[in-house]
């Protein structure tokens, strides 16, 4: 009998042992590899901070405990302001911007995907808007809005604080990004959902609001979070308009103390802001999945 099976085409017995250069990464040795690489990174940082010729100066200028504390509490007798007022400015700026961005992003995405002939001009406008606003660097938008709107000498619009112009710029810029993310989310919902909803006699608007969007938003929460973290950090750019937010406050602190630890405190502030938000949404998504899906 001759055997001519396709699945048995190779005559040799295969060898499953890793070649020498992969030995470190297979099986339990993966632990060894990760320990070694972590140690290497720690050594590299130590070299930079402790062995470099300017290491001591660097550590004093950026990581001085006394100055970090001073930047946090301030000292009225020395005329040094705490960075906390600046932090509050950043926080309200991004909170307001995020709400506005979510709203306008949704509206722009809705215009872009609509089929209705009535909305044609809005569709064209929305497309042009995303193209333009994603193309302009945020810092330019900020300068144009911050110095441009006051020049118009309009009531209310021209007499706002720099922080408000910052919020307007952030909203203008990030709405364009978020609109695209939401649009992708809407397209990710299977067409059968729309058909089922329309078959129940639900109007286009109700279908969108009750069936498509709730699923679309869930699908894009991770990329949406990405944009929101970016936005939180970009509140720092409002400093170019002169608003005393945390980075600006840190620079003022440096000028008064000849120490840059304020900048380090500002960096810690932004990290502390984003990490809990990431964990919070992770938890939210996990809970939603556990509720809806069979345990995997």
């Amino acid at each position: 009998m001759t055997i001519d099976a396709d699945v048995d085409a190779s005559k040799e017995t295969p060898n499953f042992f890793a070649p020498w250069h992969r030995r470190l990464f297979v099986g339990r040795r993966g632990l060894v590899a990760s320990t070694v690489s972590s140690a290497l990174i720690v050594v590299a940082i130590a070299l930079l901070l402790f062995v470099a010729p300017g290491g001591a100066t660097f550590r004093y200028v950026f990581f001085d405990g006394h100055n970090l504390w001073l930047a946090w509490v301030g000292d009225p007798r020395l005329g040094i302001d705490s960075l906390r007022d600046g932090m509050v400015t950043n926080i309200w700026m991004f909170l307001v911007s995020e709400v506005l961005v979510l709203f306008f992003g949704l509206m722009i995405a809705w215009c872009r995907i609509s089929q209705s002939p009535v909305l044609l001009p809005f569709r064209v406008l929305a497309t042009a808007y995303t193209d333009v606003m994603r193309g302009i660097p945020l810092i330019l938008t900020m300068l144009i809005i911050g110095f441009g709107l006051p020049e118009l000498r309009l009531p209310v619009i021209s007499s706002q604080s720099d922080a408000v112009y910052g919020v307007i710029s952030l909203t203008l810029c990030y709405s364009a990004y978020v609109a695209e993310v939401i649009r992708a989310g809407i397209y990710s919902v299977p067409n059968g959902q729309r058909l089922a909803a329309r078959s129940l006699g639900l109007t286009q608007t109700v279908t969108m609001r009750r069936v498509i969007l709730p699923q679309a938003i869930r699908n894009v929460i991770p990329p949406l979070l990405n944009d929101f973290i970016s936005l939180q950090k970009d509140t720092a750019i409002v400093s170019v308009l002169g608003a005393i937010e945390v980075v600006r406050a840190a620079q003022i602190f440096s000028a008064a103390t000849f120490n840059e630890s304020g900048l380090t405190l500002a960096a810690i502030f932004f990290i502390v802001l984003t990490i809990p938000m990431t964990r919070f949404t992770d938890r939210l998504l996990a809970k939603d999945r556990a509720k809806r899906l069979v345990h995997e």
Binding site: L195, A196, A197, R198, G201, L202, T203, V211, L293
Partner: protein
């Protein structure tokens, strides 16, 4: 006859150059069950979608209760509130629990009182033995359970006509029975239904009329006895031989 629910007259539907329906005429009377049979791609699904205006037709007429649906003054949303549709892939809303799935249409489209609708929905779920799953999410149910919920979802709208598009085709063979049993029950209650199906035994048992479609053409129509025991056309005969 005055009890015609749905009437299609020489309906033509094209997707680009491809003619999916080539002048199909069909009538559906009150309390009548009509089964559409035919190979995949013969136009069964498209025919159903033309009936509830999910597709616009290119030529011919469709009328529901004597009103011409091709008329531009017709609001498709109002039409669809009287036509239930059930899909092969169930299409339940995964972000809503079973009860919410069932009440969404009556509450949001018909603007009916939520408490009243929920009571009705619970009664419907009781009928299919899924009352205790009312607050579960669809993805936790089996395929057969999901499909029965989908049927109940369209029944909650109290439609005059039910369109079913190969509702058992995606199901595990062991789950087909429970869905067909529900459809048999609906047929016995006098529900007007237009059913696209590959289940020939089911069609033979419940249909008043069986329609054979081939490549967008209505080849043959008749009672189940006529179609299954004495088909007149060669293509019908060869189709029935292939599915057996």
């Amino acid at each position: 006859m005055s009890d015609v629910v749905l009437a299609m007259d020489s309906v033509v539907k094209r997707f680009g150059d491809h003619e999916v329906l080539k002048g199909v005429s069909l009538q559906l009377h009150r309390h009548e069950v009509v089964c559409l049979i035919g190979a995949s791609g013969s136009g069964k699904s498209t025919l159903l979608r033309c009936a509830n205006l999910l597709e616009t037709i290119d030529e011919g007429h469709v009328s529901l209760f004597g009103q011409n649906l091709v008329d531009p003054r017709i609001d498709p949303d109002l039409v669809r509130r009287h036509i239930g549709m059930v899909f092969q892939s169930y299409n339940l809303f995964p972000h809503l629990d079973v009860l919410e799935n069932v009440v969404l249409g009556p509450v949001r489209a018909l603007k009916r009182d939520r408490a009243e609708v929920e009571e009705e929905a619970q009664a419907l779920l009781e009928r299919i033995g899924l009352r205790d799953r009312a607050h579960d999410y669809p993805e936790r149910l089996s395929g057969g359970q999901q499909q029965r919920v989908a049927i109940v979802r369209s029944l909650a709208m109290r439609p005059a006509l039910l369109l079913l598009d190969e509702v058992t085709s995606a199901l595990d063979p062991t789950l087909v029975g429970e869905v067909l049993d529900l459809l048999v029950d609906l047929a016995h209650r006098g529900t007007t239904m237009l059913i696209a199906t590959h289940e020939m035994n089911f069609a033979r048992d419940v249909a008043h009329q069986v329609v054979y479609l081939d490549a967008g053409v209505l080849v043959e129509q008749g009672t189940p006895e006529q179609i299954f025991t004495n088909p007149q056309h060669d293509s019908t005969r060869s189709f029935l031989q292939r599915v057996r």
